[in-house]
Structures are given as structure tokens and as C-alpha cells.
């Protein structure tokens, strides 16, 4: 079985055909994660030049199908990974959140490129400063745009993350997160804006003179 292994991850399934007639012993976590990690169906959300690199990644030379991702899912309802490739304007913010909410559990998200991760060079009135302000992101792939190797590395990192999940870990239950004003950890957005003066943070950037 061609399972990717690292030292800290479960080892390859040992199977000896002479002594094991039709059965193997493994851990359920490993089996489930192995199945999930190697059949991730991406939902490409390409809005800009990163989508071109994403197409190159999926095409024959770099061949995303090697990692079980040969099936691009153009419907969010049959997708596991949302790959956001490109800048997201504010007008698309409710759209990408709705797409994310339409995806069935379990689901992951890759933010591909500088614009999707942080707004990139588009620090202006129209562009969302990082899609992590709208939906949770598992892997950020830097680059402008990232090379296909970069995206492949991000996908391998995501597979590694999937392999580490435990069914017994309740924190891994992927509930839809929405801001809870009754929580003591909740900070209202205007307060965040005030706190971030004068330097700003990745979400709330300080106004310049313009």
C-alpha cells in the first residue's frame, strides 16, 4: 500500500499474504484518515491568477491525481477541500461563506496565494484581507502566485494534518463556528479596530493618511 509515512505518523500497514488470509489489523483512526487523506476532492474556487497555477497543478505535468485529487468537484456538496485561489472581493465574501457552509463534513480549506491569505497587495476598499476572516483555513500556501510545487506541498501538509486526526478528539468535531457574543472571549469588531491602532493587525489594518 502506497501510504505516505513519516516517523511520527502510523506506519505502513504490514500485510503478509502467507499468514494473513484476507484480514489485516490496523487502527480505525488510521484507516479512516488514510481513506480521507488520499481521496480529497477539491472544490476549486479560482478568482484570479492563482487559478491558472492551480490548473497547471491539476494538469498532466504536475498531476494532482497522484494524491487522490483527480476529481475536481465543481459542486461544493461533493467536495472535501475548498481551495481558494485568488483574491476575494467583499462582494464575493457571502458567496464563499455560503459555499463553505454547503460543503459536507469533514471539510478543509486551503488558502492559495498571498491575496487569499492576507489580501496581498490589494490593501484597498474592495478586497477581503484574508479569507480567514470569513471561513476557517487549514493550510496557507504563500506565493504570488505559488508554483505548482508549492501548492502540492500545501496539499501534502493538509494530508499530514488529516492523518493526525483522532475520532476520539472532540475538538476535531467540525462545528460551524460563528461569533458568540455571550462568550467571554468575544471581542466586538469595533473594539478590535480600536485595539489594533496604530499598528493594525492582519485582520484590521490601520488606515493610512489616504
Amino acid at each position: 500500500m502506497g501510504v505516505t509515512t513519516r516517523a511520527h505518523l502510523p506506519t505502513r500497514v504490514a500485510y503478509q499474504p502467507q499468514s494473513q488470509e484476507g484480514w489485516i489489523a490496523t487502527k480505525l483512526d488510521f484507516l479512516v484518515n488514510w481513506g480521507r487523506a488520499n481521496s480529497l476532492w477539491p472544490m476549486p474556487f479560482g478568482t484570479a491568477c492563482c487559478a491558472i497555477e492551480f490548473m497547471a497543478t491539476a494538469a498532466s505535468h504536475f498531476d494532482l491525481a497522484r494524491f487522490g485529487m483527480e476529481r475536481m468537484s465543481f459542486s461544493p456538496r461533493q467536495a472535501d477541500v475548498l481551495i481558494c485561489a485568488g483574491r476575494v472581493p467583499f462582494k464575493l465574501a457571502p458567496v464563499i461563506r455560503q459555499i463553505w457552509q454547503q460543503m459536507p463534513q469533514p471539510k478543509w480549506c486551503i488558502s492559495m496565494g498571498a491575496c487569499a491569505s492576507s489580501g496581498g497587495m490589494f490593501d484597498n476598499y474592495a478586497v477581503v484581507q484574508g479569507i480567514d476572516t470569513i471561513i476557517p483555513v487549514d493550510v496557507y500556501v504563500p506565493g504570488c502566485p505559488p508554483r505548482p510545487e508549492g501548492l502540492l506541498y500545501g496539499i501534502r501538509l493538509l494530508q499530514e494534518k488529516v492523518m493526525r486526526e483522532r475520532l476520539s478528539d472532540t475538538r476535531a468535531l467540525r462545528t460551524e463556528i460563528s461569533p458568540d457574543p455571550s462568550s467571554r472571549l468575544y471581542i466586538p469588531p469595533p473594539t478590535i479596530d480600536e485595539l489594533s491602532e496604530p499598528f493594525g493587525n492582519s485582520v484590521n489594518q490601520t488606515r493610512s493618511g489616504l
Binding site: A93, P94, Q98, N124, Y125, A126, I134, P190, V203, S208
Partner: protein
């Protein structure tokens, strides 16, 4: 196949012009004709990089453009673009620009009208002449706040319709918008993505009777323009 009868204005086959001077050079003959036809409306003309610009009075712009389209010697049948320019100098007027092309005569003409400072930003829509002006004028309204009188459906096209921060391409508009990032995101996420399309925009209204009943129900009930 015989070529259709065209006016004899086209004399030479198209060729890339070389050595075009920055200013000056041969003027588009339509400019002189417009000066003769509308002596009081045409303010000035200029030639930059071989392209002729015609600056006309705001209230006569529609008349000049209609004449440019209908006169058999001009026949500017194609509207390339409608846009506007605001300059850094706060004294300079905001300028509305129409890019016209005469396919028959193989000519390009840029018509400008300067909107005086202090007056409401209004100009006549050329939508009755060119249906292509519909979305171009909506974009111009969205970005500059210029109202086009006579436009059938003047509302925002690039920004969403509840956008409350103003008109982004104006010089007094801050680069990052007027609201904080958190407020911008909150307002954007509050929008209903399904409410972006109207019956008229989808031009589906004509075919309503042919649609399946379920889709008709859906269009009738929920999907509004969001205005």
C-alpha cells in the same frame, strides 16, 4: 463575393501608423464637421498621439453624439466606452468621456464633456442612442456618482447595491474605504448572495412562461434585486 456598397471615405487599407507625433498631426475630419455643425457646443478640439478629442458642452453632448451617430458622413455606430476622469487638481472639472468608433469610415473619436464643480454631477444618458451604454453608464455612476439622465436602470453594478461608502474612484475617497475593515466585512457578509440577480437582469422575464413551475415559483418569491 462583392463588397457591400460603402462610402468612399475609406481610401487606403489599414496600416500601422508610424512616427505619430505626441500632439498635433492630422485631425479627425469629424472634428471640423462638428465644429461647423455645432459652433456653440464644441468648446475645443485636440489631437494627442493621433487621436482626436472633442470637448463639448455638457448640455449639448447628447445632441452632438446623436449627430455623430446619424449623420451619413460620420456614422459613429459603435460606442466603445463611457467613462469619467477626475483630476488631482480640485479646480479641474470631472470629465465624462465617450469613445466612439465609426466602423464605416474607420475613425475613432473621443468626446468629452466637463461637469462644472459645484453643480450636481448630471449628464444626459446616451442609452437611447446606444444600448451598449447601459452597463457602462452604470459603472460610471457606481465609481464616480455621475447621474445619467434618461438611463433606464441606474444603479450600482460593481459594488453591491447596499454599498454605503460612496463612489470609490472619486479623489476624495480613501483608498481603504471609509469604514473599518470589521465593519466592511460585517456589511458584506450581511448581504444575501441570492439577492444579486433580478428578473430583468437575467432577462428571464420574457421566457417566464417557458420555465418550469418550480423555477417560476422561486423567481416570484424570493429573488429580489435587493434595492
Amino acid at each position: 463575393m462583392t463588397t457591400a456598397a460603402t462610402p468612399s471615405a475609406v481610401s487606403s487599407p489599414p496600416a500601422t501608423q508610424r512616427g505619430v507625433p505626441h500632439t498635433g498631426g492630422p485631425e479627425n475630419p469629424s472634428a471640423a464637421a462638428a465644429r461647423a455643425r455645432f459652433p456653440e457646443a464644441v468648446r475645443r478640439t485636440s489631437v494627442v498621439w493621433g487621436e482626436t478629442t472633442l470637448v463639448v458642452a455638457v448640455d449639448r453632448a447628447l445632441d452632438v453624439i446623436r449627430w455623430l451617430r446619424d449623420d451619413p458622413e460620420q456614422q459613429y455606430s459603435y460606442l466603445s466606452d463611457v467613462t469619467a476622469v477626475e483630476y488631482r487638481d480640485p479646480e479641474e472639472p470631472i470629465t465624462v468621456v465617450w469613445h466612439l468608433r465609426s466602423l464605416v469610415h474607420r475613425r475613432f473619436l473621443r468626446v468629452k464633456a466637463e461637469l462644472p464643480r459645484g453643480a450636481p454631477l448630471e449628464v444626459d444618458s446616451v442609452w437611447p442612442l446606444y444600448k451598449a451604454a447601459d452597463w457602462l453608464e452604470r459603472e460610471c455612476f457606481d465609481m464616480f456618482g455621475i447621474r445619467f439622465r434618461g438611463h433606464p436602470d441606474l444603479r450600482r453594478i460593481l459594488m453591491w447595491e447596499q454599498y454605503a461608502e460612496g463612489h470609490p474612484l472619486r479623489k476624495d475617497f480613501p483608498l481603504r474605504g471609509r469604514f473599518s475593515r470589521a465593519e466592511q466585512l460585517r456589511q458584506a457578509l450581511a448581504a444575501n448572495p441570492e439577492a444579486r440577480y433580478s428578473m430583468e437582469e437575467l432577462s428571464i422575464a420574457d421566457a417566464t412562461e417557458d420555465l418550469p413551475e418550480s423555477m417560476r415559483q422561486r423567481l416570484r418569491s424570493g429573488e429580489r434585486t435587493g434595492e
